[in-house]
Point group: C2
Chain length 559, copies 2
């Protein structure tokens, strides 16, 4: 079955309802599994998470056994067996693609194919935290989905578990047919744009890469090609001539705007820092393992954006602040998963509709059309707010009483206290991250550098969300016994409460004599006099977001 | 000379200019002296600060000696001599009040009287950080001023230093005359309103008192009579029939509004928490001594306020956001010092003019006319912002390119890093506190209570400035090894970014077995996911403001 047919079938209303009803994790114990970017692609830890996730996806029929086994595998205590999934087994019956296709729901039982194997995974569906994702493959091949959720591919644990659901072989003729189709189908990431090699890649599909700290603060405006990229799905390839933006929802008259229409609104420019909610996660991970891409402090950048103000566009659609009952403004992107579910997020209506909120439907970044990786042709710019709400490749703006029901609004990008673990986490009880807290990082010297005792110049960035300006950066090289203040704060001249841009700071600390190691700390203070928390210990959270404790840079001292 | 005459004389333009030119501290080394409420009236520490301040006010002619001596006195190393200032000394010449009055400026030399003594303090004037305050007394008695700045009275160190400037006795006839005048002159605090005895008084003149923590969170709305009072000067006694509010400044047409005029604007109600910037200072002081009233956590309250929106009033005066060049909105109170300098503060124009900023010219508190202690008849309510900017007994609203030049805007209510001391502090280089950072305090059980091992209910308040809602309060009774989350957050339903009210929270911690003491910590998180800093150590500042580290409640465990 061609993947296009699959997609068409699963866009039916019936499945859509089922899918929605299953969108929330069925079992709290498994709710930790996130299919977007939780996995990591580097070395051992990546495999560990891959294995843990895979265990959750294609588990054994007994949940407890599944969890125990997954944990054992994740801890390296179990040898994963040889790979053999999807190979022809002479002892099993044959099924045609047509027969498989009938088993496309819980009621009809859920069958899938993988290479030459046929599997009845009905009993596993309720154990799968992203059950609706699994159901998308019902009645056909899992392969196009695994091309997207690449954690499954070449994963021995996944293969082993899959084989436990094996019921037969695919009809030999259909295997040929299927092989041809798979060959024709495109790698969903195959059309992603080219990127500079200087970016540090934390995941390649979807593409997630950060700016090296060694160059990050060399320019107050981060050059577009060096700006960190945090994608959740393949990059859409949009023909600007055909681009349309839908404005709709509560209390609005529907508008459909072309790119040219959007450019007819007054053009508004702002400088804003955008930062991934998971930036500096690597520092929190160093305290205790957690789940998420290993951002080292470079998932942040500062650019000038230009476009129409969202408040102007909403006004054109008849928005009335006094009477409109909407509570949230939902954004949807043109990037989508195999079931055509788009990336989505929402922001409070007060932020969206306030001209002072400076939310843009932006079509320019640093004076040029936005590049594909950053949302061409139109991106939501929500200054002061976590990167995840700055939706790229924007296709829809919808006013609603409810937040976006997307995975990324509901089951990701939320904070928890340090005692919340994957057994107790309840995403419903936490608030979606919007405005970001105050943070700072030291970018120069580099970690582990050799320095001399005496005065040492250090440099870095600081930022706070919600339009709060950085008013002070404190520095110490003796564990807080003596603090100096950064002597230079480079920042733009935006007005009070609309200070969206970051601050590049420089200062001098005194490296003590006679000690072979030194730790330099930075602590930023914003215009609400909020300060960074001291350590990661008491802000640690299982997703590694909001990682804004003091930056503590370890250096060697050349005595 | 009657004090009224004194006041009249010193309101001359000439002195006003001199006064202004001297308003800023002359010597950075003395800039730490603050005459408003820095002193404390309790026990030994009060005297210590009193002595330190006094040393700065009436010093010896050699600054170094003065500073050294003051420090020694402050440290208790020097015995203050017997009091004898102002007593008749047979070895000295007599001067009439008329002769003294001629010495009313630096050019004419500065003479003052105290009781029967005459003093030439010209050489001390440049050493006095509040030089203009000292010059107000030039040519007459210092006594009416000392009735206001009561730190001088009955202070042995002040008396000793004063006597070093002694040049003569006051003419015997004039002494009788002067005594009569002083008897007639009123204690500036004599007309302050009556207060409930339940308030914890941290200073009586000016009156500064807080709500006991044991009752603070018993009501979501703090009853007016229990609301903390932080006055900087005597309480004005305003006849509402004669009350006038002046609206003026950059880009405005002058308006003068009576109370009735103000009530013609649309009446707007908000619930807001007001908190002194020095609230919870006692906890910071416990870490290391500092200067300021010893607020124990009760300098905060939550009330409903009603009045005209400042944005509406500014609009009526012709304010135009696009063209108005003002940067700050200055408030002046009817409370004033002996030279008729009013209490003053300013806020950013963006806060003042934005209807979403909810700044009120309030005439009602909790549904009744505002009481005298809280600003009758009209008070600025600046929600989300430090109490000091919520100017009471409001007389003027002035738009300006500059901040208020008042002491309290320029040389108080600012933050510094922990290494800033009274030798290095430079108020010009710090930002005036506006929006307050996230904080919380545990109000029940009381500190030192006996509790049982096992589950313990704790209760308290949390708040963040800038309209940020409290989204979580984390609690621990084992030093952060395990955190629980407050299960109940009582708060109002204000909209996003306008959440001015506080949160009353309740939660349960587990008191460990087998340990005679336990410390319960609270840590609030606001809607920008800012969290409280862990300890006071790294946010300590010499004025003890912004004291928002974790609350750490010590309890005894009944084993």
């Amino acid at each position: 079955m061609a993947s296009s047919k699959l997609l068409t079938r699963f866009k039916s209303d019936k499945l859509s309802v089922l899918s929605r009803s299953l969108r929330r994790p069925i079992l709290p114990a498994l709710a930790g599994y996130s299919w977007d970017g939780g996995r990591k692609e580097r070395g051992g830890e990546g495999l560990k998470w891959g294995a843990a996730a895979a265990g959750a996806i294609l588990g054994l029929s007994g949940l407890a056994y599944n969890l125990r086994r997954t944990r054992l595998i994740a801890e390296g205590a179990v040898e994963a067996p040889e790979q053999g999934a999807g190979q022809r087994r002479k002892d099993l019956k044959e099924f045609t693609l047509e027969e498989v296709a009938k088993h496309d729901s819980i009621e009809n039982r859920v069958w899938v194919t993988y290479k030459e194997g046929v599997y009845d995974i009905t009993d596993f569906v309720p154990l799968h935290p992203g059950a609706e994702k699994l159901l998308m493959a019902a009645g056909g091949s899992v392969e196009p989905f695994w091309a997207m959720y690449a954690v499954h591919l070449n994963n021995k644990v996944v293969m082993e578990l899959l084989e436990e659901y094996r019921i037969g072989n695919l009809d030999q003729d259909d295997v040929e047919h299927h092989r041809k189709q798979m060959k024709d189908s495109t790698d969903p990431y195959g059309n992603d744009p080219a990127r500079l090699k200087v970016l540090i890649v934390n995941a390649s599909t979807p593409f997630n890469a950060e700016t090296p700290l060694s160059i990050l603060t060399d320019s107050f405006i981060t050059p577009t090609e060096l700006f960190y990229v945090r994608n959740h799905l393949p990059v859409p390839d949009v023909d600007p001539k055909n681009y349309e933006l839908e404005i709709s929802g509560l209390g609005l008259k529907d508008l459909t705007l072309t790119l040219e229409d959007l450019k007819k609104f007054p053009k508004h420019k702002i400088i804003t820092c955008i930062q991934c909610a998971g930036n500096r996660r690597a520092e929190m991970r160093a305290r205790k393992e957690l789940k998420g891409l290993d951002w080292k402090g470079g998932a942040v950048g500062n650019a000038e954006w230009a476009g129409a103000r969202l408040s102007d566009v909403l006004a054109a659609a008849g928005f009335n602040e006094e009477t409109n009952p909407a509570v949230h403004c939902i954004f949807e992107g043109l990037d989508h998963d195999p079931a055509m579910h788009p990336y989505g997020a929402s922001i409070p209506i007060e932020k969206a509709s306030d001209p002072r909120g400076d939310v843009l439907l932006a079509y320019e970044m640093n004076g040029e059309p936005i590049t594909r990786d950053h949302g061409f042709p139109v991106r939501a710019i929500v200054p002061g707010v976590a990167g995840a709400r700055n939706v790229k490749w924007l296709s829809r703006v919808v006013l609603s009483k409810e937040e976006s029901d997307s995975h990324w609004q509901q089951d990701d990008y939320k904070g928890f206290n340090p005692s919340t673990d994957w057994d107790t986490v309840d995403y419903k009880k936490s608030e979606a991250i919007q405005d970001m807290p105050v943070t700072s990082a030291i970018c120069s010297p580099s970690p582990g550098s050799q320095v001399l005792p005496g005065e040492l110049e250090v440099k870095g960035y600081a930022w706070s969300g919600g339009g709060r300006r950085i008013i002070r950066v404190d520095l110490t090289a003796d564990g807080g016994k003596t603090w100096t203040q950064a002597s230079s704060l480079e920042q733009d001249t935006a007005r009070h409460s609309r200070h969206w841009g970051w601050t590049i700071w420089k200062g001098v600390v005194k490296v003590p004599e006679g000690c072979p190691n030194v730790e330099v700390w930075s602590k930023a203070v914003d215009s609400s006099y909020n300060v960074q928390p001291e350590t990661f210990e008491n802000i640690w959270n299982l997703r590694g977001v909001l990682s804004n404790a003091y930056c503590r840079l370890k250096l060697k001292v050349n005595l």
